[in-house]
């Protein structure tokens, strides 16, 4: 099985994007938690709340856009594959699986 041609879109979607979002979000959450432990009564918590609010909205929206984009591309690829007679591409692996 050719990694790049067969499973690359699915791996990109699940590992690259979700992994990146998890790493970024997790790093910020850990930093915020550490800061809240270090300064329990400081003014920093208020700012972290605001940044977290924007971060959550933007990251979830970006993930949704990437997910919808990937689904649309896979569906288009599947339709084209059926139309052209199942060549070896990403849609073929989905149909076979």
């Amino acid at each position: 099985m050719d990694f790049r041609n067969d499973v690359s879109p699915l791996v990109k979607l699940s590992l690259f994007h979700c992994g990146g979002a998890l790493i970024i979000g997790g790093a910020f959450a850990v930093t915020a938690k550490c800061l809240s432990w270090m300064y329990p009564h400081g003014f920093l918590g208020w700012w972290i709340d605001k940044i977290e609010l924007i971060l959550v909205i933007v990251i979830v929206t970006a993930l949704a856009i990437i997910f919808i984009n990937a689904v649309v591309r896979l569906l288009a690829s599947a339709v084209i594959s059926i139309w052209k007679g199942f060549p070896h591409d990403s849609a073929c692996s989905i149909v076979v699986a």
Binding site: K12, F16, G20, G25, I51, L55, A62
Partner: protein
């Protein structure tokens, strides 16, 4: 010249860097939200402004980082090393020539370049009068 897609590790690095750009844009948006709220702007308006700013900035970061890190691997084929060196030297010379032309063009329009004037000495390039000292010497 053949162009090949980059390795999946490089692609992963590119995507994660793009997510880092989104996080940076979100942090800046959060700071803007805090500043707006501190300045007495209402919550909904401040959230709308900060979200618009964060989305615009994250799209810009995504595109810029993607363009910077997206590098197709170029493999030269059918050329000898001498041909490649000649091609690279030619490209470098062309870039230098364009840069030199741009610099000269900018210098020619620089405002510090004033027209030559000798009017303080009693002589102007546009006047038809002779300088006073010259007239005195002629009289003598």
């Amino acid at each position: 010249m053949i162009q090949r897609a980059p390795s999946w590790l490089r692609e992963m690095l590119q995507i994660w860097m793009q997510w880092g750009g989104i996080a940076a844009a979100s942090v800046l948006g959060g700071i803007l939200l805090g500043l707006l709220l501190k300045n007495g702007v209402s919550g909904k308006v401040a959230l709308g402004i900060a979200l618009t700013f964060a989305f615009a900035l994250s799209i810009w970061f995504w595109l810029v980082i993607g363009r910077r890190l997206h590098a197709t691997q170029e493999i030269y084929s059918g050329f000898s090393s001498t041909d490649l060196q000649i091609e690279q030297i030619t490209i470098t010379n062309q870039r230098l020539a364009v840069g030199f032309a741009l610099v000269m063009y900018c210098i020619s329009f620089h405002p510090s370049k004033k027209p030559m004037s000798l009017a303080s000495d009693g002589f102007s390039a546009t006047s038809t009068k002779f300088p006073d000292k010259l007239v005195e010497n002629i009289r003598v």
